[in-house]
Structures are given as C-alpha cells and as structure tokens.
C-alpha cells in the first residue's frame, strides 16, 4: 500500500511537471498581448512596453520559464496580471464554489443514477428499462447550458422559486436556493452516465452463478440485489464516477457562467480573455492536481469495496 502510494505520488509529480511546461508554452503560443489587453486600445506603444517590462514579458522565454519554475518550486505561483492578487489566493477563494457545485451534482447523480440503473437492469427489456435508457440518453445528449437555460426559464421566471443569479451565501435557505438549479442542471447529466454504467454492470453480475445460487438458497430478492449483486457491480461504477468528476469540473465552466456563480470556470474564462499567463498556469496546475487526486482516490476505493484488489 505504502509503496503504491509513493509510486503514484512520484508519477503525479512527473505529470505535474509535464503539464506545467506544456501550459507555460501553450499560453504563450496563443497570440494576444496581456499588456495591450490591460491598457486598452488607446494606450500608447510606450505605455504598453512599460507594462510589458513590469510584468516581465520582455524577458526571453527561457528566462520566463526559469522564473516560473523556481517560483513554482517555492510554492509561489506569481500574481495575476490583471488583479495583482496572488494567483493561489484567487484560485483557492473560488475553489470551494466549484467543489461544492461538483460534489452536490455528483451526489445527485449517484442518488438518481444508481437506483435507476439497478431498477432498469432488473426489469430488462421491459417498459421501465426502455424509459430509463431513453431518458439517460437524453440526459447525455443535452449540453449543460441548454438544460441550464430551460431550468431558469421554468423555475426562475415562470415559477419564481429560485434566483437567476445563483451566487448567494449566508443563510441555509440562500445556500439551498443558489445551489439547487446549477446542481440539478449538472446532476442530470451525471445521473445519465451513472444510470447507464450501473445498468450494464448489474446486467453482467445478475447472470453470475453466485446470484443464481443465492436465489436458490432462498435469499430474499432485495438482499440479493443490493448486497450481493450491486456490491460486485460497484467497481465499474466507481471508475465512472471518478472519471466523471474530471468531466464535471470541466462542465461546471458553462454552468457557472449561465448561473452567474463564481468558480474556477468563470475565473478561467476571464483569465483566457485577458491572457493572464500566471493565472492560467496556476489554474491548470489546480485542475491537474484535482484529476490526479481523484484518480488516486478512485484506485484506493477499489481496494475498499473489493478486498480482493491488492494495491501494489
């Protein structure tokens, strides 16, 4: 277990370095001058050059890369070119918003998706099964920004139950009001994923000998399904949930924009538009860290649900 962890962490460091370098190069290949964007279209060439110097953009690429790497090693990700605030602080400030949205919608996805998948598998090729399969396909095909607008039109305009600007905090009621629509919008898609995987994993397990044996022994059907079958079908479900977490964080970009919620997505779009290099670099590192961490947790979860899996 310990060797496994050490090996995975070492691997994560290499991945991180590769991502850092790639991001450093990529953001600079894209045309666009941060100094010009900050000062606007009436700024004189001199003013732009002066700002480029202050931001260190007049250094050679190698010099900039060295400065960046040395800073990164010290845990210093630089300051945002636009706001002048430390990148790490800016990212950490909005990170809870994104994590909160992602986790709540994932939870919603699991709570809806697992029972729906199990139910569809038990009633294979019957009406319920078709209904579940069609609605999950619909869920997958819906771009999150479309479902978001539809939800807003129904539950914020026609029935004024929720605010359009979902960025409230403070009381529990305000929190509930501001998280519901964005989480439902994202959660429906994750529910669709989870349903489909649960259904196929359950179908496979249900045809196993031990399920038939358990039935033959007279174990109640409910216990067979939830304790014997589902337990064994969990591994693929966990894999999907783990992989999906990364996709969810990506999808949250659009959801945050439509629901006017702060978060990594909105920060990313702003940084891209302004060519805020340090901010983009810092954010990519955070995204990479999250994906690496989630993959690690997924691997650890295998061992937890199935003792036969040994982590080496």
């Amino acid at each position: 277990m310990t060797t496994f962890l050490i090996r995975r962490l070492a691997f994560a460091c290499v991945t991180l370095l590769a991502v850092l370098t790639l991001v450093f190069v990529l953001v600079r290949i894209v045309p666009g001058d941060p100094a010009q964007l900050i000062l606007g279209d009436q700024a004189s060439r001199e003013a732009i050059e002066a700002l480029r110097h202050r931001l260190g953009l007049d250094l050679t690429l190698t010099q900039q890369y060295t400065v960046f790497l040395l800073g990164a090693l010290r845990g210093d990700w630089g300051v945002s070119m636009v706001s002048g605030q430390p990148v790490i602080g800016e990212v950490l400030r909005v990170l809870p918003w994104t994590i909160e949205l992602t986790l709540v919608s994932l939870l919603l996805g699991i709570l809806l998706g697992v029972p729906a998948g199990v139910y569809a598998a038990i009633h294979r090729n019957r009406f319920v099964d078709y209904a579940v399969r069609i609605s999950s396909l619909l869920g997958l095909s819906f771009p999150p920004f479309v479902s978001a607008i539809i939800l807003l039109l129904i539950f914020a305009i026609a029935l004024p139950w929720f605010p359009v600007i979902s960025a409230r905090s403070g009381s529990a009621l305000a929190w509930y009001q501001s998280i519901t629509l964005p989480a439902v919008s994202l959660g429906l898609i994750s529910a669709a994923y989870v349903t489909r995987v649960t259904r196929s994993a359950m179908l496979e397990v249900l045809s196993e000998d031990y399920v038939r044996t358990a039935r033959a022994k007279g174990v109640p059907w409910n216990v067979v399904i939830w304790r014997h079958a589902l337990r064994n079908a969990l591994i693929p479900i966990i894999t999907v949930v783990g992989l999906y977490l990364g996709i969810l964080i990506g999808n949250s970009v659009l959801t945050e924009i439509v629901f006017s919620r702060p978060g990594l997505g909105k920060l990313l779009i702003g940084a891209l538009n302004q060519r805020d290099y340090p901010m983009l670099q810092g954010m990519m590192v955070i995204y990479t860290l999250i994906v690496v961490l989630v993959n690690l947790l997924t691997d650890l979860a295998y061992g937890f649900v199935d003792p036969r899996v040994k982590l080496k």
Partner: protein, 514 residues
C-alpha cells in the same frame, strides 16, 4: 375613532411591508466576467469606465446625459480662464470638496498630481492625451495652472470627467500605489465599498458629495457575462438596469417587457473597414474604390436595425466637433465597382484577406460586408480568431483589411490622430491604430491640432476627412449606439441621450419613483 383606527392600520401596514417603502438600492448587470483595473487612468473597457464614472469627477464635466463638448460645465473647477493663445489655463478649484473615505479635502495640489499621474506612461493608458502639457502647478489651495507647449483642440475635453481627466486624490493614490485599483478613491457621488471577484462591486452613497447627498443608498454592479442570464435576471426583477446585447433583436425583445425602458445612447461606435494602402492588391486605389462602391450602407443599417444603428457620414464618427456631416463618401454602385476592378486588372474578381474577431456584433457585420462585396466580385477571405488574438494580430499588421469598431472623445482630432496620422501607423514605435498606413492628411490633422482659430481648424478637419475619404484609407459603414435597459421606476434625474463613459449617468439625483 374610525380615523384613528384607520391611521393605526396604515402605520402598521407600513411597518409590516417594508418592501413597499421606496427602493434605495440599485442593482446593475454588466456584460463581463469580472472587473478589470478599477483605476480611472488605466480603465479602457465599457464595464470599468462606466462604473468608475459614478465615483469620479473631472475639473469640468459634460452635462450628465449628453456627450457633446458644448455641454461642458464646471465640476471640481468652479471656473476657468485661458490666455488668447490657448496655452495657459487657470482653474479655480471648488472649496470644501471631500475625498472619499476620509482622505481629506480635494485641493489644487490633488488636481495637479492627478494630471501628472494621467500624463505618466507608467501609471496611465492615456499619457498620449497629455503630450502637449508642459507644466502643471498648484498655486495655493484653490488655483491650478496648466501650461501647454502648444494649443490643443478641445483641451477642456482632456480635463473632463472621462479617461485621464478623472481626478484622483493624491494622498490615497500615493499611499496605495499600484493597489489604488483595489480601492479607488475619488470625489464622486458614490464611493467604493466592496469587491467580490467575479461577482460584484458595491458602491455606497457619498453623503458628503458636494452637489448633495445621493438619493439612493448603494449600487451593486454585478458581472454577468452571459447575455441570456443577464436578460433573465432583469426579467425576474433581480436587476434594475442592464447592459444590453448589442443588436436589434435584443431591443425588440426587451422593449416588450412590462415596466421597462430600453435606451439607445450616444456615442455611436463607428464600424469602418481600414484598407492597408501599402499591400497588394489594396495598394491600387481602383481596388479600394471598388470596395467603397460595393458597400451598401443603407442595407447594412436595415440589417442592423434602424433604432440602434445609423449610416456612417464620414471617415470619423458623426456628431464630433469637426465631423464633416456630409463627407464625400462613395455611393453604392456595384457596376462601377466591377468596372474599376476590371480596369485594375481583376476582371474575374479578387480575393482580400481579413483577420476578424468572433465578437458577435462585429462578426455579423463582416459577414454582411462579405455578401455585399461578393456581388462586385470581391471575395473577402475572413479568418476568424478570438477577440484578444484579433487585437494582437491587427497591430502586427497581419490583416490587409481591418474591420474596427470604435468611439473616441468627440473632437475630430482624437479620431483623426489615432486612425489616420502617419505617426500612428501600426507596428511602429509610435503606433496607435492607423491600420491603413494612411498619410494623406498629416498636414491638415497636425495643423488643426495647434490652430487657435476655430474657423480655420474646422476647415482643416474638413479637408483632412475629404482627403482620407478620397484616398479610401477607410470605408466607413455604420454606427452602433450603446444599448441599455432599466426599469421605468428608475429616474436617473437627467434626460439620457448619451454618455461619454458609455454607461447611463447614475448621479446624486438618481432615484426610484416607487
């Protein structure tokens, strides 16, 4: 007795339903993801300039709701005089004006500091505007003297409440340095209170404002980049005022909402095609003329919407001091365009490349232009890139045809200098936005800038516009007005025809009528 009971019930109802009391908080929805630099001497985008204009004053101001220099009136300066040559300006600074958040009284010293700061390229985007400033001195507490190297056309415009003319408080700016943009300190009707990144900036009323305490208590300026979300939040009543999507369909849709006022404000931003006169095939004036003949400005305005746009009248925007409202622009004539192309050696048509932004309003225009040019046998090859890339590439002189949409301070000199003076040619050390490499009117532009005779100045500007139009450095197309909507229960206190800072004037007189 009945009257007494009635009175008690009424009083009870007033306390029971505070929502019925007059609204005192204004919530504005702006179309950007976040604030930029909240420093009036740096800010150049619509979202930032609009917000800052509610916090700052100039030495003079253009009357709220208007944009023309003829409406210039006192602001922080009570009065001013200049010598006959127009090179020495003396301003009498209003006594007793307080800087926000206890930064003390605003004096001539603050004014002098502010102008020096706006002239400094390290602290200002507008340093070019003050190139002619020789000396700025505070004489005592209430007199400011500005000496110019040469007279400047419409000089008062540079010390008005826009761009570099906004007055900052010296103590605050010196104390905070680069952090000034995190807590901007001015003298205006509203003061900076709070910034929640990606969410909002909150301003509170400056109760000590020299024109009187504002009638509303606070302003929340929310950043909502998605047009549809902003519209929905306005519709649901969460926002009182919104920045509109800049097209006619938005106007048609929003005007139908009950209790809503949609306003198309000045200044119009001029959409113009700048043709690089130094590259093939645009170096041939006949090709440039063919393009000019092939553009049907009436059809473009019909396409863009008559309520929100209007035909261009000259190579610079209409209504500016010095704009030739009847400049000799080319009429729409496809046959002539084809003939000119054939004469230039392109009987089978010609292909011209343009690098263009994906910004919606601008993209629909260039596609309409492409369709019109096609009829004359000109194939416009549009390379679409994202907005920041567009700005970078056109400044590297990579696009032979540049479509740009802009408005400037409404004096002809500013637009002419930035877009048509050869000193402003892109990719040179003194570059601004002369994309066409135009140099036909340098003499007139520079002559008008230092002329002290208003009649001669106007004549020079007129000649400059004629020469530029004749040389087809630019093909002006149409002007886009600024679109906003607000609840009709919001009374801004002024009739709004326009705003130099591009957002409706929210002042001490702004209030809700219910």
């Amino acid at each position: 007795m009945k009257k007494l009971i009635f009175g008690i019930v009424c009083a009870a109802l007033m306390f029971a339903f505070p929502a019925l009391a007059q609204k005192k908080s204004l919530v504005v929805g702006m179309g950007s993801a976040d604030a930029g630099k909240l420093d009036p001497h740096i800010a150049s985008t619509t979202p930032d300039k609009g917000l800052l204009s509610w916090m700052f004053n100039g030495l003079v101001r253009v009357r709220p709701g208007r944009i023309s220099p003829e409406f210039i009136e006192p602001d922080l300066a009570e009065s001013w005089t200049s010598n006959p040559a127009g090179t020495e300006w003396t301003f009498k600074i209003r006594a007793g004006v307080q800087c926000h958040h206890g930064y003390g009284e605003f004096t001539a010293d603050d004014a002098a500091y502010s102008i020096k700061r706006a002239s400094n390229k390290a602290t200002s985007s507008y340093s070019n505007d003050f190139n002619a400033v020789d000396k700025v001195e505070a004489i005592g507490k209430s007199t400011l003297k500005i000496t110019l190297k040469n007279p400047v056309a419409g000089f008062l415009g540079y010390v008005a409440n826009v761009n570099g003319g906004n007055m900052v408080c010296k103590k605050a700016a010196e104390e905070m340095g680069e952090n000034f943009s995190k807590k901007p300190i001015g003298t205006g009707p509203f003061m900076f209170a709070e910034y929640q990144p990606q969410q909002f900036v909150k301003l509170v009323a400056n109760k000590q404002y020299f024109r009187g305490a504002p009638l509303i208590d606070d302003i929340t300026y929310r950043y909502i980049p998605a047009d549809s979300s902003r519209d929905l939040a306005f519709q649901s009543g969460e926002l009182d005022m919104i920045y509109g999507k800049q097209d006619q369909t938005w106007v048609d849709r929003t005007s139908k909402l009950p209790g809503v006022k949609v306003v198309a404000m000045e200044p119009g931003e001029l959409s113009e095609l700048y043709l690089n006169v130094t590259v093939k095939p645009l170096d041939d004036i006949r090709v440039r003329q063919a393009i000019a003949y092939a553009i049907d400005r009436k059809a473009i305005v019909a396409f863009k919407g008559a309520g929100t746009s209007r035909e261009a009248v000259s190579v610079i925007p209409s209504g500016y001091l010095g704009t030739d409202q009847k400049a000799p622009l080319f009429p729409y004539d496809v046959a002539k365009a084809k003939a000119l192309l054939a004469e230039a050696g392109y009987p089978n048509g010609v292909t011209i490349k343009t690098i263009h932004t994906t910004l919606t309003g601008m993209q629909t225009l260039i596609e309409a232009v492409q369709a019109q040019l096609k009829k004359a046998g000109i194939n416009l090859d549009i390379e679409l890139v994202e907005h920041a890339t567009f700005h970078a590439q056109i400044r590297k002189d990579l696009s032979p045809l540049v479509h740009y949409q802009a408005g400037r301070f409404p004096v002809a000199d500013v637009y002419l200098t930035q877009f048509f003076d050869s000193r402003s040619i892109v990719n040179t050390p003194t570059a601004v936005t002369n994309f066409s490499h135009c140099n036909v009117a340098d003499e007139e532009i520079r002559g008008a800038r230092v002329s002290t005779d208003p009649v001669k100045q106007l004549a020079l500007w007129k000649t400059a516009q004629e020469k530029i139009a004749k040389a087809v450095c630019g093909v002006p197309v149409y002007e886009q007005l600024q679109l906003w909507a607000w609840k009709d229960s919001l009374d801004l206190g002024y009739e709004v025809q326009g705003s130099l800072n591009l957002s409706p004037p929210v002042t001490e007189k702004t209030r809700f009528t219910k």
